[in-house]
Symmetry: C2
Subunit: 382 residues, 2 copies
Amino acid sequence: MRRTRPPDSDKPADKAIAKAATRPVVSPRVTIRDVARAAGVSLGTASRALNRSGPVSEAALQAVERAARELAYAPDPIAQSLRTGTSGVVGLLVSDLANPLYARIITAVEMRLQREGYAMVVGNTHNSNAREDMMVELFRRRRVDGLILGPCEVERPDHLRQLARDLPVVALDRDFGDEGAGVHVDHFGGARDATQYLLDLGHTRIALMTSDGALRPGRERINGYRHALAGRGVTVDDTLVRSSRSAMDFSFSDALALLSAPDRPTAFVCLGTRILSGVLQAMKQTGLRVPHDVSLICVGDGDLPQLYSPAITAVSWDLEAVGTAAAEVLMGAIGGSGTAATATEAADTAASATIDPRARREIRLTTHVIVRESCAPPPARA
Amino acid sequence: MRRTRPPDSDKPADKAIAKAATRPVVSPRVTIRDVARAAGVSLGTASRALNRSGPVSEAALQAVERAARELAYAPDPIAQSLRTGTSGVVGLLVSDLANPLYARIITAVEMRLQREGYAMVVGNTHNSNAREDMMVELFRRRRVDGLILGPCEVERPDHLRQLARDLPVVALDRDFGDEGAGVHVDHFGGARDATQYLLDLGHTRIALMTSDGALRPGRERINGYRHALAGRGVTVDDTLVRSSRSAMDFSFSDALALLSAPDRPTAFVCLGTRILSGVLQAMKQTGLRVPHDVSLICVGDGDLPQLYSPAITAVSWDLEAVGTAAAEVLMGAIGGSGTAATATEAADTAASATIDPRARREIRLTTHVIVRESCAPPPARA
DNA sequence: CTGAAAGCGCTAACAA
DNA sequence: TTGTTAGCGCTTTCAG
């Protein structure tokens, strides 16, 4: 058996199918042909009856339906896909499926999609644009009817716009261009409110710890923080704004440094529970106490802030709503008579004027702060 | 437009595809036909060359590969599926995608699957057998090449065995019959070790809080607990073993009751972080302290036990390994020249003797306890 | 209103 | 070794 290394078709996608192909098919399916025969009509009529896609006499309709029922006929999605170019599948890509935030969003998306009969394929980008592009390509090959994309590595609004041009795309907390749709959480407002709450308590040295200043959520939050400070005439001390790419590890050491400094902050705004973890550990290590010595507020709620002792005040938003909204916007875009996909040759041409209003939809969700036990007025100055 | 209500084809699956079908197809794909033409060979030869599925002359091979490369040809998975009856997709069903445990397992599965070129469709059973059956049916229609199934509602080993008969199935922490495969975590050992650790510390009144006695994990854990107690000659006080279906809500009130009783337990084994939450809240409410007044140990590690203060001792196992193992076992079963699927008419007939050894594989993973700060000797008796 | 027929893109017989 | 052909199951013209 000659076995020169497969050169091109060795891409994983092909491997999978080739490998699986060795398994024989299961049981002889009931096809639409069987239904047609049983109903005594032609194949075309059966199809039209089943799909209500053309004129069918009442008699034929009844017969076909009865036959379908009796034979327990179920259409073959694969065959339908081949013919129609659509799949009844939507793809969802996030940086980390295991992130509880995404996990909850995904659950909501799945639930909504399931109700509508769509299946959901998921993928992990590991926060890499390259991986994202690869997965998107794979999904497109599989003819997904739409895509939901979470934040990834850096913003690429034009890239996203380009993609949205021939496939319904819903962005989660991502900037996108004129085309496409997305659901945005008001991180700006969340960070602003959190900071304001702290200011009201009398804090002025408020540290902000964020992980990803490059992405929309991080950016918006930093802006909200600055906005609140500016609103009270407090000048921003940039040494108090720490942002990095990796979460927990950095937040611990950064918080430690901050807390050990002579003029240490009296409050922390932590953007995410992983960062909260790091700060909490730093607190533990330095022997400082919450909220007596320093106040803490966490942007993004979860088990940890809720159950920690003292319970941590948090900025919260409805994750299920994010997922549901994403699913709904996407289905709107798919259902909407797909202006999105008329294969114009010159892809760089300016967008046509006939954009379906539904294809350009943004949903904005608000945040609110849940006051718990982790914030108090700052300790009297030494 | 006459519009008698769709009677049978109104099942969600059909709805999705029908709806999506209104969108036009994207761009004219490069087909294998184009490749063949460009390479100056016939369609069949191109196919054989691309798949190494038959004799091809070196010259033809080169030409085809070059053509494929230049045209950036990518095979259409849908068409391949229709022809071969396989899809390069595997389905994964768990009771709750948002459960951090599953979320991490899923991530690992996805990573492994992705490497092999498989896509993953996921679904939520919400712990309902009916939903599980429905989703399985949906997935099968879509011709998934295999299934990974998490625990759900109640054990149905025969049902699972039946299913595994014509589709590769990997069970996660579920009992399964003679056919099929699965990965099992040693929950028995975990609970036993945890209990023993507590016994060693001097505890005898150890409460066990579990959520799902009906499923394998819960059952095994209860057994492990009993085993450890029996090994030390401690008689089991059944009032100390609390099990229920719903997690957090019940665990709070149950723990509260237990803690308020005159002869209260000096230690708790909490099966899962959600239950830990409830117990923690009950502790807070009663003013009891960890580990001074009562010791705590959590089966199943996570953010909460790790970061709580005091940090909670936990029984841990490698979730990534669970996922990876599941993916690998499944791929073994799929790749294995599929003895699983020879459509024998009488499905109830005894299994044939020709079961591929790979098709019957079980992977067993061990647990270990991570000692932290939540356990101490019991307080001196009043 | 209905039936016949043409494919969607691919693989797998079967002849040559 | 190769080219031709027959479908996989379905939707959708296009004539009747």
